[in-house]
């Protein structure tokens, strides 16, 4: 079981709510995914309307909302938006997204660290979206982030785990859960992330834009379970060469021969 802050999750698949062809398809897909943590862009919902079309479709016992700040460009804007979200949506959980570059939506490390420090002080459970930067992850951990969410590749790119070498370092060093967010394009990418020890993944585009989003959500559910199971079973390490002879150390066994010849 995965624990973040004070919550435990049976599912290690977190999901998003964007890009679906309708709110009904979204709801069905999220149910098929088994996801218990679902991120919602503040800009897409009417926070003051309990009948909001997206929020209405997320009202299930097992689904926890994770509001995100997509659209803000600075720490200051993020902190303001977070406070409104907390009040309106009745949750202190926050996916902190500060990507001032609207083209590739690359996260701003400086502003994200600043906002995390501030938001933790204000009592938020902060899950920051960031580049796969090991040092930044440690800094965020020290600032009180509840988890870190490094990217696999640019948001919505479906390019998979381009940052895998850095993700491995982050996973090795982290004391808080590591959620691989962004870029996961297929169930095999998700399985891979879990196999290398990520605590969870967040998937949106690959499900929403699939030919059959509901079926794809179910496929991700299985892949995430398989990846985690494989991680727990401890993968046998692949080896590059066989170990038949020891040309560099054989001399040690020949040492006694030398003595004799003396």
């Amino acid at each position: 079981m995965l624990t973040i802050a004070n919550k435990t999750f049976n599912s290690r698949l977190f999901t998003g709510t964007g890009k679906f062809s309708s709110a009904n398809v979204m709801e069905e897909a999220l149910l098929a995914s088994g996801s218990e943590l679902v991120t919602v862009a503040l800009k897409r919902v009417d926070m003051n309307d309990p009948q909001d079309d997206i929020l209405r479709h997320l009202q299930h016992q097992h689904i926890n909302l994770l509001p995100n700040t997509s659209g803000v460009r600075t720490a200051k804007e993020a902190v303001f938006a977070a406070q409104l979200a907390r009040e309106a949506l009745q949750t202190n959980w926050l996916k902190l997204e500060i990507h001032p570059d609207p083209k590739y939506l690359m996260p701003d490390a400086v502003e994200t660290l600043k906002a995390t420090e501030e938001l933790v002080k204000l009592g938020f459970v902060v899950l920051p979206y960031i580049h796969a930067d090991p040092v930044l992850c440690k800094r965020l951990e020290e600032a009180g982030a509840a988890a870190v969410m490094p990217l696999g590749s640019p948001i919505g790119s479906n390019k998979g785990l381009k940052t895998i070498d850095f993700l491995e370092i982050i996973i090795e060093q982290s004391k808080v859960p590591v959620v691989v967010d962004a870029g996961i394009g297929s169930p095999s990418d998700a399985a891979k992330a879990l196999e290398i020890g990520a605590d969870a993944v967040l998937v949106n585009t690959a499900i929403a834009v699939a030919g059959q989003p509901v079926q794809m959500a179910a496929a991700f559910k299985i892949a995430v379970e398989a990846g985690r199971m494989a991680y727990e079973a401890r993968l046998a390490k692949p080896l590059n060469t066989a170990v038949a002879s020891s040309p560099l150390t054989a001399f040690l066994d020949e040492a006694s021969m030398e003595k004799i010849s003396l």
Partner: protein, 371 residues
């Protein structure tokens, strides 16, 4: 100060046109085969040679759009605040020399219009005016934004070009997006179509997106008025402009619009006709060139065309638009800026969007994100 004009001046209209028209099937195929496309590839995609590749272009464009935007279409609506104008523009119903009754909405009337628009479901509103700097000025805009910002999630503006400081001030009040179309990048032709008024200053207009970028406006809309000049050459310059802006003002979002010259009472006939097939080519070329830019289409286009092109690269549309100040509630019968071609209501349009398997998105911004 550095601006796009320095880049623009390095290009010659006729040479660019010549380059576009000499593109061949080989260039088009190369452009389609690449991972990312240069300005030179864009030339190939908008060239006559690409006409033979319309179907593969449409398929690629659809796929790239869905990847980035999902199966969604955003809805916005224009609110005309004023038709007072001191410019003479050969193609526009609000032109100074056009004898129509002029009207600028009062605060009470703005709220009346807002209520009518709101009841149609809109959260994204586009404020439109002519250019009458003595009455429809920054304080007027400021007041309008203040009246509207609690009613709408997203406020855009398509009005006369302003100074950098003005944009900064209006953004603080809650303005999100500014649309400013160059109309044409052909300097001499621009002069011909804008013989009188502040708008005849080509350089001030072409440098407006620079002022917007420096002021930190969230989104900038570019476009040309299709029909004034050769649309292929004008579109290349728009792409050149966007390319420059994306690199310079990297925190800003961008959108492109495709207004085709529409008839109005006593108006200009298009110099260069663009047929539907060519508009499809242009929209697809844009998407294949740039996956992130928003592509917007107004009610100038007829219903059947809109229903199809919405699935080929367009990401935002208007519906149920009135192009006269007070058109929704205050004075529905006054003269419009141009005739719209798609008269379906927003509710009807939303049903159409759902029926083709897309989600109509009414809200994609929140005033809380820019405080």
């Amino acid at each position: 100060m550095d601006s796009f004009i320095d880049v623009f001046n390095r290009y010659n209209w006729n040479e660019v046109k010549e380059r576009i028209y000499s593109k061949t099937a080989v260039d088009v195929e190369a452009a389609l085969g690449r991972q990312s496309r240069s300005l030179d590839d864009f030339m190939a995609l908008i060239s006559p040679a690409a006409a033979a590749y319309l179907e593969p272009m449409a398929q690629l464009s659809q796929q790239l759009t869905r990847q980035r935007f999902g199966k969604t279409i955003q809805l916005y609506v224009p609110m005309y605040l004023s038709n007072e104008c001191n410019n003479i523009c050969t193609y526009c119903g609000f032109s100074l020399d056009n004898k129509v009754r002029r009207r600028t909405l009062t605060a009470t009337e703005i709220v009346q219009e807002a209520t009518a628009i709101k009841s149609m479901g809109y959260e994204h509103v586009l404020l439109v005016t002519g250019e009458a700097n003595h009455t429809v000025h920054v304080p007027y805009f400021k007041n309008a934004i203040n009246l509207l910002r609690n009613h709408f999630a997203h406020i855009s503006m398509e009005v006369q070009p302003l100074d950098e400081e003005d944009y900064r001030e209006l953004t603080r009040e809650g303005l999100h997006t500014v649309l400013v179309y160059q109309e044409t990048y052909h300097r001499e032709d621009y002069k011909k179509h804008h013989p009188k008024g502040k708008k005849s200053n080509f350089q001030y207009r072409i440098e407006t997106p620079d002022r917007l970028g420096r002021a930190g406006v969230h989104k900038i809309g570019l476009g040309i008025l299709i029909g004034l000049e050769d649309w292929r050459t004008d579109s290349f310059f728009t792409a050149l402009h966007l390319n420059y802006l994306e690199r310079t003002y990297w925190q800003t979002k961008y959108s492109i619009s495709f207004p085709r010259l529409r008839p109005f009472s006593g108006g200009l006939e298009p110099k260069v006709e663009m047929v539907d097939r060519e508009l499809v080519q242009l929209v697809c070329a844009w998407r294949i060139f740039n996956q992130e830019v928003e592509l917007s289409l107004s009610t100038r286009e007829h219903p059947r065309f809109r229903d199809h092109i919405m699935q080929l690269g367009i990401t935002s549309i208007s519906a149920g638009s009135k192009t006269n100040p007070g058109g929704y509630a205050v004075e529905p019968e006054s003269l419009e800026q141009f005739e719209i071609a798609d008269e379906r209501s927003p509710a009807e349009m939303a049903r159409v969007i759902s029926s083709i398997g897309y989600e109509p998105v009414w809200k994609d911004w929140d005033g809380a994100l820019q405080k």
